[in-house]
């Protein structure tokens, strides 16, 4: 997939004209940096959105199968046990990771204030990544599954993904080393963390499962550690970096407290790697492991509180921006969802709750809170800001952005509610031994139908998003310079 891009040409001052101001220089500087990054970033975004569409189709099919098992029942490659992991892996590795990497690349060059050099390295990384995801998903559909949740891909695909990510990480470290002197903004801490953590996380998990070949419940322990870090730490870091960048950027107000931001970051780095243990409650592992996970999930309230206070203080007086700016509206939804995710994870980790929810949809609800309500919404917000600056053409239709927002917000909200409350209901019924198992399943059916309704709403949202993105890439949008807003606003745009 190739994207032809003509980046915005910076307006250079004519010789003999008045000396240019610092603000104008800054603008030229930013335009040059954006122009240098446009190829790789748009490549990542375009592939990510393609996978998002695939995930939408897979997710819809798997939700149909939960209440109508004969739906498309004749084909082996569409059986629930294959389409569900294909959906989850497409959503995480296909959509979320490349969308996050595109945002990471752009934030890195903007915050380090350097032009992107060696874009080929990144494009190669992006191509490899997409080959890896394709190989992995096709294998799952053909019936090759490692048996480990979120690590289903065969080792060939995992190796390709690891190489692809290494190219991006090497590039990222080089950019950070060459950054222009000055204070390191809080988003950069998260980005450097994300760049460094992922290869360790993905490499160690795959090495332990395939090369060192740990046995028995150790596999479950590695998988729980990987899953929690993949979503909580890696997506968490990139999502928070994006939120920390765009809320101050678009509202035009600096982050309220660097001190709080610092506490937030280090508590995040310290506690989030332990969260996986909470998913092992009641499992045949030593009791101290889930206990550590529960303790970490309680301690993560520190992170949630600092993030909440900081964003609330930064947004104070600018809440009307949610009404005007698509970027702020999506980003704010993501920031709120980050806090909700943390609280739901904490409540779900308590043993009295986990006893009910451990073997239910509740876990899928937590996953969708993190991957979609928080991370994907933050990435949509970033794409709405970044992509037009790289293409040199604004979004054609504010109505389509609005429809995308409401469909995504309500669709994912409904999906998550169905999963969380359906999980609680399913778990309570299962705990009640007087209720036969068949009636437990029957009781859960309305929640499954509700998930399908949510998917139909999400399909609408993703369709509008994709159409709007395609039109912009093909330069059918409005001329650059005037951001597409929901409602016109006075003064400084964006």
């Amino acid at each position: 997939m190739s994207v032809t891009v003509t980046p915005t040409k910076p307006v250079l001052p004519q010789p003999g004209s008045a000396p240019i101001s610092v603000a104008e220089l800054d603008q030229v500087d930013r335009a040059l940096i954006d122009a240098s990054a446009s190829g790789p970033v748009l490549f990542f975004y375009t592939t990510a959105i393609t996978w998002l569409l695939a995930a939408t189709v897979f997710g819809f099919i798997s939700s149909m199968k939960m209440h109508s098992p004969e739906f498309l029942g004749g084909w082996s490659f569409l059986t629930y046990g294959r389409i569900w992991p294909a959906y989850i892996d497409t959503l995480t590795y296909g959509w979320a990771c490349p969308a996050g990497m595109g945002t990471l690349i752009w934030l890195m060059v903007r915050l380090c204030r350097v032009s992107l050099r060696k874009p080929a390295l990144l494009v190669f990384g992006g191509i490899f990544w997409n080959i890896g995801v394709t190989v992995g998903v096709v294998n799952i559909l053909l019936g090759v599954n490692s048996g480990h949740a979120l690590l289903e891909f065969p080792s060939s695909a995992s190796a390709i993904l690891f190489i692809a990510y290494s190219l991006i990480a090497i590039w990222g470290v080089a950019v950070f080393e060459n950054r222009r002197p000055g204070p390191v903004y809080v988003s950069l801490w998260y980005l450097v963390g994300a760049l460094f953590w992922f290869p360790w996380l993905y490499g160690a998990a795959n090495l332990m499962l395939t090369v060192l070949h740990v046995r028995g419940v150790m596999q479950s322990i590695v998988v729980a550690w990987f899953g929690a870090n993949f979503i909580g730490l890696w997506m968490g870091a990139i999502g928070l970096a994006s939120v920390y960048y765009f809320i101050p950027k678009v509202t035009g107000r600096p982050v309220a407290s660097y001190y709080l931001a610092s506490i937030g970051f280090w508590s995040f780095a310290l506690f989030y790697p332990w969260l996986g243990g909470a998913h092992l409650a009641g499992s045949p592992v030593p009791v101290w492991m889930p206990t550590m996970g529960i303790a970490a999930s309680i301690m993560s309230v520190v992170t949630l509180a600092t993030v909440f206070v900081n964003f609330a203080m930064t947004m104070r007086g600018s809440y009307n921006m949610i009404y005007h700016s698509p970027t702020i509206r999506f980003t704010f939804y993501g920031a709120v969802a980050f806090i909700v995710t943390g609280l739901v994870n904490m409540i779900g980790s308590f043993r009295s709750v986990d006893r009910l929810t451990h073997f239910t949809e509740f876990g899928a609800g937590e996953l969708h809170l993190g991957v979609y309500a928080f991370f994907s919404m933050a990435m949509f917000g970033a794409i709405y800001y970044i992509a037009p600056r790289l293409v040199g053409c604004e979004w054609l239709s504010a109505t389509m952005i609005r429809l995308h927002f409401w469909a995504s917000a309500y669709g994912i909200g409904l999906l998550i509610c169905m999963m969380l409350f359906g999980g609680l209901a399913h778990g309570s019924a299962m705990d009640n031994t007087g209720q036969p198992f068949e009636s437990v399943i029957e009781m859960g059916q309305p929640y499954m139908r509700g998930q399908t309704v949510a998917w139909i709403v999400l399909i609408i949202g993703h369709a509008f998003f994709t159409i709007n993105f395609l039109l912009m890439i093909l330069r059918f949008g409005k001329p650059a310079g005037q951001p597409t807003l929901f409602a016109p606003m006075e003064g400084e745009p964006h």
């Binding site: 160690a204 046995r215 150790m218 550690w225 492991m289």
Partner: protein
């Protein structure tokens, strides 16, 4: 926090701590777990069966059975698994040392299968449920795995594995529905699932009457 080494050291140290605590210490604690050997009785548990069980486990993974079926019995404090008749005792780490990959599972859209082979001992019952889940259990939401079976012409004797089907599912006369090698391996694996063997680290929890 303003310089690269300082940030990087912190990023490295916090993650290393989590990795050591959540992965490496468990590996030291559990990585060397051995089967229980009762020398007097000459009894070893668990046993690495291998063969068709390993093939069946791969089918179980590739069809994604573990996305809806768990294989773990929790103790009375953690759930009602024992009261539901899914096992006589809670399962412990030693039960799984030869499970590769392990399928503890995180979902019960279907019943727990930790002791599936102890509850259902006839292969026909598994074949029937895999071929026609709603015929075997009304209201089941399990997919039908008809693609793991083939229809073939009866030549001479009817196959011992052939499914006894009636009504619209029944093949035309002279034909029979038989499980493929994959279905046979899967059912062989399911029949092998029995984790009720006594272990010294877990007392048999008396079943509530």
């Amino acid at each position: 926090m303003k310089t690269f080494p300082a940030i990087f050291t912190g990023i490295f140290a916090t993650f290393a701590l989590g990795w050591a605590g959540a992965v490496m210490i468990p590996q030291f604690q559990l990585g060397g777990l051995q089967p229980q050997v009762d020398e007097e009785m000459g009894d070893i548990y668990p046993i690495n069966v291998g063969g068709v069980t390993d093939q069946g486990r791969r089918v179980y993974a590739s069809e994604g059975c573990f996305y809806c079926h768990s294989q773990q019995v929790r103790g009375k404090f953690d759930g009602s698994d024992i009261e539901r008749g899914w096992g006589g005792r809670r399962t412990v780490a030693r039960d799984y040392i030869y499970d590769d990959p392990i399928f503890l599972g995180s979902m019960r859209k279907g019943p727990d299968l930790a002791n599936a082979g102890a509850r259902t001992t006839k292969p026909e019952s598994f074949y029937r449920e895999l071929y026609d889940p709603r015929g075997a259990v009304p209201g089941s939401t399990m997919p039908s795995y008809r693609y793991l079976f083939t229809k073939r012409k009866i030549s001479g004797q009817r196959s011992v594995d052939a499914l006894d089907l009636a009504g619209p599912d029944a093949p035309e006369p002279g034909y029979e529905i038989v499980p493929t090698g994959e279905a046979k391996a899967l059912v062989g694996y399911l029949l092998s699932l029995d984790r009720n063997h006594a272990l010294k680290e877990v007392p048999q929890e008396a079943k509530k009457k």
